[in-house]
Amino acid sequence: MEALQQKARTLLQSGAVKVVIGYTAGSDAERARALFVRNGEQTQQLIWDDRCRQNLAAYLIKPEVRALGKPALVARTATLRTLLQYAVENQLADEAVLALAVADGQVVELPNFAAIEEYLAKQPRGLTPEQQQELAKMEALPLEERWAFWSAELQRCVKCYACRAACPLCYCDRCIVEVNQPQWIPVASDPLGNLEWNVVRAMHLAGRCVDCGSCADACPEKIRLDLLNRVAAQEVLTHFGAEPGYSTRKDYALAAYKPDDKEEFIR
């Protein structure tokens, strides 16, 4: 934590960056919130611990944040993957952000995409054994029980779209839920609309999601949105061999194809 504060101070004082986007204590003991540090004194408020889960990359592409000048960004692994995915989607220029990865009390400066790629190559990849088990357990349930589980989950959705706001990759100016001619997805919370919204969200993130979990963290009803994203990501990895956020190669799996993609289900 001291190393991070020190680094932030040096960066701001030298003028290398104009703002450091990091975490500070939130409204209660369990939560951290984002902090935009613009002068040396504020750096003391920066924290780094297990509460720092929010994917801060989501702020980078907002016009009001861009107006602040060059940012340094306190980044977890998923945040770094987001930066590379932004590069793939032409949302972020190389060297436009200085990523600060914190590991073992050390702060690693990652000034460009190549450095991030190199850093990520050394990090563990894929789902943890617990996450894998959770998915397998879910998939082993009979159809009716899976339906019952998700009906109960999605019934709680209030369409606040906090999942969308928290997601760094849900950045369309015009989202399908705001289209009302015709109204694809009802505004009110209803069983069909809730199902549609959550399927759309997962589908639009398939092949792009970097599994930061910010959607599920942001959900006031604690709906397991991360499970939907992981299942789609698994399909994309298994069948198309794509794992987004590990390189700047433009290879969005759902905008590409192979003539011999597996198709056992098509009659």
């Binding site: 879910m138 998939e139 159809l143 009716e144 029980e145 899976r146 339906w147 019952a148 589980f149 998700w150 009906s151 399908i176 001619q181 015709p182 109204q183 694809w184 009802p186 209803d190 069983p191 069909l192 199902l195 549609e196 399927v199 759309v200 997962a202 589908m203 398939a206 092949g207 499970l227 939907l228 299942v231 789609a232 698994q234 399909e235 994309v236 069948h239 198309f240 799996a253 759902l254 905008a255 590409a256 194809y257 192979k258 003539p259 993609d261 597996k262 198709e263 289900f265 098509i266 009659r267």
Partner: protein
């Protein structure tokens, strides 16, 4: 009580399956009248939202059909569609949607007989499964019609 008559919506591409279904008709092949066809330019145009909307509006089964791989009028529309369906099916299955009611097929413009057989099979299967009551329905009043001036 009258026997349950399933409603099946078919989303088909203009160039192959729709022409194939035309051939079924001109060949005077009789098939189940339970299918309602929606013609779209290409399978690549068939948004997965359309499938959910069909079920939401009371369909008991959905057929999605287009050109065989390599035959797409737009070169690669069906290849892209295929990838999307793979992810979509996995996601729906994970959420407990009954995939026996969502049928994908390639029917070319020359396969009139295949189309008739496909529809008959699907209608018979869905008839056995019964109405899809578990799927949430669009509520009355939410069905918004747009008047075009």
């Amino acid at each position: 009580m009258a026997e349950f008559e399933p409603k099946v919506i078919a989303f088909v591409c203009n160039w192959c399956t729709y022409a194939g279904a035309d051939l079924t008709g001109t060949s005077r092949i009789k098939y189940a009248p339970n299918v309602r066809m929606v013609r779209l330019p290409c399978t690549g145009r068939i948004d997965f939202m359309l499938l959910l909307q069909a079920f939401g509006h009371g369909a008991d089964g959905v057929i999605v059909s287009g050109c065989h791989p390599g035959d797409c009028h737009y070169t690669a529309g069906n290849f892209h569609a295929r990838r999307r369906w793979m992810v979509f099916r996995r996601l729906l299955d994970f959420m407990g949607v009954d995939l026996r009611r969502v049928i994908f097929s390639w029917v070319s413009a020359a396969e009139g007989a295949k189309w008739a057989e496909l529809v008959n099979t699907v209608v018979a299967d869905v008839r056995k499964l019964g109405p899809y009551e578990a799927f949430p329905k669009r509520l009355a009043g939410q069905l918004k019609t747009v008047e075009v001036a």
